[in-house]
């Protein structure tokens, strides 16, 4: 990526950082968007269970409990967080933002500027604020996302639609970047995530038919970064704030790991035949897993058939941790790298709803929450998996970061720029 390298030579530093825990896009981007941990913003995954039930619930932008940085800058939110309290008074006026394709911002909601939601958006109209921004998107046949369903049927045509999607993303980003007025511009390219999930193996093997498009994607991305950086420099006369970040890293998948099957084999989880998803949880269940590695205790005071009493929790947690530590993959290597209790990693008014434990795997072991599997280990169509420990960010060199920052630590530097 020669263009990125050139930018790095102009007063920027590339840092490694930690994604959110767990390291999936809805949580990681929400952590960046709000600058606080899940205990404050309330998003722990793409799925959750409705309170006091076993029914699956899909959190969306309405469930984010803390204000996003564009709301803090726009002064358009009644919500409050530790970060917003700190900056509310320091932000002098209402700044206008353009936010494009950021995951977990659906449905779009009122703000100062333009918001076009990213994954998991279902309907472009509902993904667009204000309504006046919709006709342009409609006119270019804007695509919210590449249809990942296609990858199962035909990888070649999936790769083609990935490029089409990237083209349209670039078109929309460039248009809004150049034609609209803004104080802050923030856009996400999500095609790189899809590329790694489905084609990671191609990146290291020149004989792979997808090697060429994989490399080409990055060349195009690099070119696009150059275009944006130059336009940014032109507008800001060298005084602006420019940053690039990723919400997690990637590693090749060795095996998918179905933790619910593991918990079943270890006797922590008992499933009934009837019902959908978590409705199958039987009264004898003591713990279950939700994507990716969120272990929940089947607490008596939280679930209708809950069996775990308060006084038994800490012993149970130790038993589960012990079992997880002993889970071995290929060649006897450990599957689980780190296990956190919720009190260690979350704090804030919404930490009560957090899973009791969150596991982070060693690279190559992709943790999954499926309840249907008969084996602990398996393979799927995916060849790349998220990693927690190697997200990255490119920041101006004058910013001194704490050693190995978390993604939510970055937000403050964005806000700071608007106080100077």
């Amino acid at each position: 990526m020669p263009n990125l390298k050139e930018i790095l030579g102009q007063g920027f530093v590339l840092h490694r950082m930690n994604a959110s825990i767990p390291d999936i896009s809805s949580v990681s981007w929400t952590s960046f968007n709000t600058g606080v941990n899940p205990g404050e913003h309330g998003i722990y995954g793409f799925t959750d269970l409705s309170p006091h039930s076993y029914s699956l619930y899909f959190p969306n932008s309405r469930d984010v409990q803390a204000p996003t940085f564009w709301e803090i800058l726009g002064k358009t939110s009644q919500k409050s967080s530790t970060l917003s309290q700190q900056y509310r008074k320091k932000i002098g006026r209402s700044y206008r933002s353009i936010i494009l394709n950021v995951p977990h911002t659906y449905p779009a909601w009122p703000m100062n500027g333009i918001l076009v939601s990213g994954f998991v958006s279902l309907d472009l109209k509902k993904a667009t604020f204000p309504e006046s921004a919709y006709p342009y998107l409609h006119s270019i046949h804007y695509l919210i996302d590449v249809e990942a369903e296609k990858a199962r049927e035909d990888k070649g045509s999936f790769m083609r639609s990935l490029f089409e999607c990237f083209e349209i993303r670039k078109k929309a980003i460039s248009h809004l970047f150049e034609k609209e007025s803004w104080d802050l511009f923030f856009a996400c390219v999500t095609e790189s995530d899809r590329l790694h999930h489905f084609f990671f193996e191609a990146s290291e093997d020149e004989r792979n038919p997808y090697y060429e498009p994989f490399i080409r994607f990055y060349t195009e991305l690099d070119n696009f970064i150059k275009v944006l950086y130059e336009e940014f420099s032109r507008r800001s006369h060298g005084k602006g704030f420019f940053a690039i970040l990723s919400d997690h890293g990637f590693a090749p998948v060795k095996k998918e790991v179905y933790l619910n099957r593991f918990l079943e084999e270890q006797g922590f989880l008992v499933l009934r035949k009837d019902g959908k998803f978590y409705e199958r949880i039987d009264g004898r269940t003591r713990a279950f897993n939700m994507d990716p590695g969120r272990i929940c205790l089947h607490d008596q005071d939280r679930y209708p058939r809950g069996a775990v009493r308060k006084e038994d929790r800490s012993n149970l947690l130790e038993d589960i941790k012990e079992a997880l530590r002993n889970l071995k993959g290929e060649n006897g290597e450990k599957v689980i790298d780190k296990i956190y209790e919720k009190e260690e990693i979350y704090n804030g008014p919404y930490s009560e709803m957090a899973p009791a434990l969150v596991c982070l795997p060693n690279d190559g072991y992709d943790l999954k929450g499926s309840l249907e599997k008969k084996e602990i280990f398996g393979q799927n169509i995916f060849t790349g998996m998220h990693t927690w420990h190697d997200a990255l960010c490119l920041l101006p060199e004058k910013i001194i970061l704490p050693e190995k920052p978390f993604i939510q630590n970055l937000t403050e530097y964005v806000l700071q720029y608007y106080t100077e």
């Binding site: 899909f58 998991v120 279902l122 990716p292 799927n380 995916f382």
Partner: protein, 267 residues
């Protein structure tokens, strides 16, 4: 006057009012219990002979029992039946197994209805929706305008006070009229019982299961129930706490979200 008679009178008043205002009108009949109740009320409003056509949006995926029931009633009640099908998409193989369920519903139901409205130059359609069905329907009006995009702007509806219904319509728009909006699920069953209305047998228990809400075969699942007569259904609903549409894959957004997440390996 008893409760059901009051409900019936109100519905009949709205049906007659609608027919008086719009001559280009039709009734949408899904063959389910609600729109069959509405159809019955339309017959009563016009002394047995419904003066406007009845539209059935046929996705091609309905239960065989529903097609049979439809054809029997058309004959028995001398109905003018129009069938709305999105032939083009059906030919392309659109169905619940192809693409997303949201697309399927969109093409085979919404767009099929759009086409029918255009084809038959309809200015208004009567629908059997009820206020207690779903949260969003609580805001519905008896006379509800839709624009050419089919959009319902519920924050900008004409006021509707008492029996003063607003029923003027712009070009390119159509009105949706909901004569049984005030019925509850329990009212419908009580009314079906009182009137001795024929009903699709899928609603009655077979082998411990029955359908509480019916639509397309692949997207409906039955509930556990032993209610095999109307009396037993009335009793079951009186005491039930779960929602009517719980067996219905109708929460399209959730299904669509699930599909998207699945495609990327979540869930």
């Amino acid at each position: 006057m008893d409760h059901l008679t009051r409900l019936e009178n109100k519905s009949i008043y709205i049906i007659r009012e609608a027919y008086y205002r719009f001559k280009d009108i039709a009734m949408l009949w899904s063959v389910g219990k609600d729109s069959t109740t509405l159809l019955w009320l339309c017959r009563k409003a016009f002394f047995g002979q419904v003066p406007f056509p009845i539209i059935h949006i046929d996705t091609g995926y309905k239960f065989p029992e529903m097609y049979r029931f439809r054809n029997e009633r058309v004959k028995e009640w001398n109905l003018k039946l129009l069938i709305g099908r999105n032939e083009e998409k059906l030919k392309e193989g659109m169905g619940p197994g192809q693409g997303s369920k949201l697309d399927c519903c969109n093409e085979l139901k919404t767009n099929a209805l759009k086409m029918a409205i255009k084809k038959y130059h309809l200015k208004a359609i009567l629908l059997g929706i009820r206020r207690d069905e779903h949260g969003i329907r609580a805001k519905e009006r008896y006379f509800s305008p839709r624009d050419s995009q089919f959009k319902w702007d519920y924050e900008n509806q004409p006021a509707e006070l008492w029996d003063q219904y607003q029923s003027t319509v712009e070009e390119e728009e159509h009105f949706r009229i909901h004569p049984i909006l005030h019925f509850t699920e329990l009212d419908v069953w009580s009314y079906v019982k009182r009137e001795g209305l024929p009903i699709v047998p899928l609603y009655f228990s077979r082998n411990g299961k029955r359908f509480r809400s019916i639509g397309c075969l692949p997207c409906c699942s039955p509930i556990d129930s032993n209610a095999s007569t109307i009396d037993e259904i009335v009793e079951e609903i009186r005491t039930s706490k779960t929602s009517e549409r719980s067996g219905r894959a109708q929460d399209k957004e959730n299904i669509y979200t699930m599909q998207k997440l699945r495609a990327l390996g979540y869930m």
